[in-house]
Symmetry: C2
């Protein structure tokens, strides 16, 4: 199929790890299957972390095993370190994503290592995946790339230096994450342009949180800078347990409508995606579900031929 | 003062006319005064319309009389026709804004005239203002410029043709309004570029509703197209009584933070602006107040020197 933009769904990982409820593994599997049926090309299904720190993510091995049997989406898991990568590769995870925080304070809180130690960890994970059958993919997300709730502004040269180091350590792609919802479109355009200048086609995904309502504005700027992969979360579920005050990810449904309205194809059936919110509401009755499109409905004429210039 | 972007506050008009409560004139005056104290450079304080149709706007003459005595902001009132303009000019309104809907169905519902008849009305209002002491300003907003909840997509050439006709009819500036929240950034960029190509420096304000969460994304695209005036509403109050399903305007607080974070000065004290929400909550206890910045708080380091690249 032709697709202009890859939307990577992170609700089963970024979303579920940020809520207080701990879902049953069968429910997590049901959510991943429902998301996969909407045409989403990539789903981050969980993380391989200590169940003591994030009990919501215990049993991600089972979720991955089920998910990789689904025809369709690329299945991704987050791993914070080599131990997580070993566990992920052991169950056949086809792609892992590793967060490398540009904020020293956030990095220590989130993974217990400073950014440079994380680059060494990326090297080790890269060596490990080269020795793994099928050579799983390795993506890095530079988190707190646009600011940190603890440190405040994060120097842009540090962000780019870490991205270059991650690419040199063997990653297939390196993206930038606004973990804390502090980014603005001018900064997004500048940083993603610098990223592409420095690491070329290894420049990867944009991961925006919507803390201050600027998430989709940042998407427009990232598109200008040539970004073609965006993380997003059904109903905006998400946050970061170690970034106080950080709200959820950008809302997948709203992102898909933004992109498709602009004439950028995603391959996602947005009405089917909106329908999955009902499942999420059943699984997490106490969580607020965000999203403007689900509330307002699709615009008259969307997304037919002739819709607003298409 | 230096200012890069003019933020025009429309809560006292677009906001108050869309809520079911009818505020006392003294309360409307209190709201305008509180908004003026935040440094907002322009405030749309009401509309001169039939009180039978919009009882919320009855007594706008008194609101204008009080507002023009405030040092600081430009005071604007909406007028739907010549009769409204006469009333506005009679009390010394320094600037009027006239909606010309690009959707025939919306135009009939909103002002009881089709778009071409509205252009004739603009000509009459222009003649009237030339005969008025001080020659008040005349701004046109092409409403439903990005789609209509009744008609669906609105032909872009019709939008631009009407804008050109409005400029030729004597308007100082002609802006484009996404009355229904159907616009997308690609369309916004295309239409505002076309507008500037056709009418040059008469190309005016962008007025976006946030129905599907795309309002600030559209702001980024409009900035790219050279727009320097944006309408917005405190707490996102607003809508259109004749555009079913249309939610409120973009949130002024969130817009100001977006712009200032990008290094674009507005002259608005955003903390003072957020504080005015408390007054709005007292005046309209049953209305939901929207806004991400007010909920999340300002980012650490904002808006000091060195904040995210400033």
């Amino acid at each position: 199929m032709t697709r202009d933009i890859l939307v990577s769904e992170v609700a089963p990982r970024d979303g579920l790890q940020s809520v207080s409820a701990v879902l049953a593994i069968a429910d997590r599997i049901a959510l991943v299957r429902a998301l996969a049926a909407t045409g989403l090309p990539e789903i981050e299904v969980g993380s391989f972390v200590s169940p003591k720190r994030l009990p919501q993510m215990a049993g991600t091995d089972e979720v991955v095993r089920d998910a990789i049997a689904i025809a369709g989406p690329q299945i991704v898991a987050l791993v914070p370190n080599r131990m997580g990568a070993e566990a992920a590769f052991a169950v056949g995870t086809p792609k892992v994503t590793v967060p490398v925080s540009a904020s020293i304070a956030h990095s220590m809180a989130n993974v217990g290592r400073d950014p440079d130690a994380m680059i060494a960890e990326v090297e080790a994970i890269h060596a490990l995946r080269l020795a793994t059958p099928g050579q799983p993919g390795l993506e890095i997300g530079i988190s707190t790339a646009f600011g940190c709730t603890i440190e405040g502004p994060v120097p842009e040269d540090r962000v780019i230096r870490l991205a270059v180091a991650a690419a040199e350590a063997g990653a297939d792609s390196v993206g930038l994450s606004d973990t804390t919802g502090m980014g603005n479109p001018a900064q997004v355009r500048r940083l993603f342009k610098a990223l592409r200048r420095e690491i070329g086609d290894k420049a990867g995904a944009a991961h925006f949180h919507d803390t201050r309502g600027q998430g989709l504005a940042n998407v427009v700027a990232a598109l200008d800078a040539g970004v073609t992969t965006f993380d997003a979360s059904l109903a905006g579920l998400g946050g970061c347990p170690y970034a106080p005050g950080a709200a959820g990810n950008i809302v997948t449904e709203d992102l898909v409508v933004l992109l498709e309205s602009m004439g950028l194809s995603t391959g996602v059936d947005v009405e089917a995606l909106i329908a999955v919110r009902a499942l999420l509401a059943r699984l997490l009755p106490d969580e607020p579900l965000r999203g403007a499109v689900a509330r307002a409905g699709l615009a008259k004429g969307y997304p037919g031929k002739g819709f607003n210039g298409l």
